[in-house]
């Protein structure tokens, strides 16, 4: 496989997405790749959201610092759309991620069900390798 220079990871604030973020940050640290931390903003976030463009969430900053990724090596991005489509889009320009990273289960999902599974959708449709990080 060619040298990985760009990685994208989905982040929704859940514990599972923090685990995925930590794994992606570790890979970025080892490979020297840049990291895009993506939050997909759904319809309901119009009514109030914990996340703002340009304001890196505390959890993201903390994990980046712990994994040795300085602020020049990662970007915090909010895209309006569903999580699956937004992460898949990261494989195209301008992000051009060569690896997509996603937690195995996001906010509020019922364990053991496939419906609404972002990780499953991303795996099914991605044209680049996908890493699904199991929750701790």
């Amino acid at each position: 496989m060619n040298q990985v220079t760009s990685i994208a990871v989905g982040f929704d604030g859940s514990v599972e997405s923090e685990t995925a973020l930590r794994w992606a940050a570790g890979m970025a640290h080892e490979s020297g790749a840049s990291l895009t931390v993506l939050h997909a903003s759904g319809i309901l976030e119009r009514l109030g959201s914990a996340f703002e463009p340009g304001v890196v969430p505390e959890a993201v900053s903390r994990i980046m610092a712990e994994e040795g990724i300085d602020s020049s090596r990662f970007r915090w991005v909010i895209e309006e759309g569903d999580a699956c489509s937004a992460l898949l889009q990261c494989a195209s320009e301008p992000v051009s991620a060569q690896v997509l990273v996603v937690g195995s289960r996001g906010h509020g999902k019922r364990p053991g069900t496939m419906i609404g599974s972002v990780s499953l959708e991303v795996v099914q449709h991605a044209k680049v390798p996908v890493v699904v990080v199991p929750g701790s």
Binding site: D12, A40, S41, G42, I43, L44, E45, R46, L47, E79, E80, G81, D82, A83, C84, S85, A86, Q89, G106, H107, G108, K109, R110, T113, M114, I115, G116, V118, E121
Partner: protein, 348 residues
Amino acid sequence: MVLIVNEVFDDAEHESPDHPERPGRVQAAMAGVDDLHLGEDLVVAPRYSATRAELLRVHAGGYLDELGAYCYGGGGDIDQDTYATYDSWSIATLSAGAGLSVISELQRRGEGVGFVAARPPGHHALADRAMGFCLLNNVAVAAAALASQGERVAIIDWDVHHGNGTQQIFWDEPNVLYASMHQWPLFPGSGAATEIGGPRALGATINVPLPEGATGDVTWRAIDEIVAPAVEAFSPTWVLVSAGFDAHRLDPMADLCLSDADYADLAASVSRFVKGPGRLAFFLEGGYDFGALRTSVASTLSAALDAPLSTEPRSNGGPGFDQIDRVKAQRLTAIESWTREFEKEGQL
């Protein structure tokens, strides 16, 4: 003129605490119908649940199985926006069936205008995935049923969000045209002017992204200069409207600035796309401010019934008027470019 409605009222069990897509939306929409005082000209179509065969025209069998099992397993959050409950499967199939019932009644009478006041809404539902509050794609189920009868169907979507599910389902279907005007950027992120359809239906997908703050004069220009020429060239035998009312200036979910009167203008425009009586139906999609939903529904249906109602004034002066020229140019370039590409690949 007769108004044929189908409403899904006993849907109180498809709700989630504090979620804006809630049962009161149907009551608000039907209050708008009541404001028209139609008397005997108001006809209620029979209640009907869409069958699996009717749903399979637009949805994957595996998805239907999963959704049904998920609901009957107790439901829960499907994604950050979308939920299901134990009763959601039966409510969703009733909503999809409501459109079929209204169309059947229109066909039987050969006159009138249809209004499907059902929820959950449908236009974000993909062939194999629920999203954006939507479980089953109600307008797509109706359009596919008509297409299976040999009809040519134009779907006009004026919900403030792009109807990505409907677009995906009919992307390469030459007998169904899909035209959307929506705020962009906004959920679900799709709906660029350059999204124009697949090789068998190139140009039959029309997208007019509008900037935050756009007013009725911009949507009027979009309909007049982009949507109308495409629809006229397509020559539909039926027109179905994904009538979301969340582009209203009072709606909390987005930032377009339409007024009740603008919806009347839009309805009058799409009514002119219809080539015969009894071939126009409106499907409730979004709309989350109950007051605006009520007045917008009344304005829309009064214009479609050619019985204008006194409303607040038209809106104008917002941004985006010049954007219509850019959308036209981008769309033309995309059609030329993809025509060459598909010709090269032997798909045309």
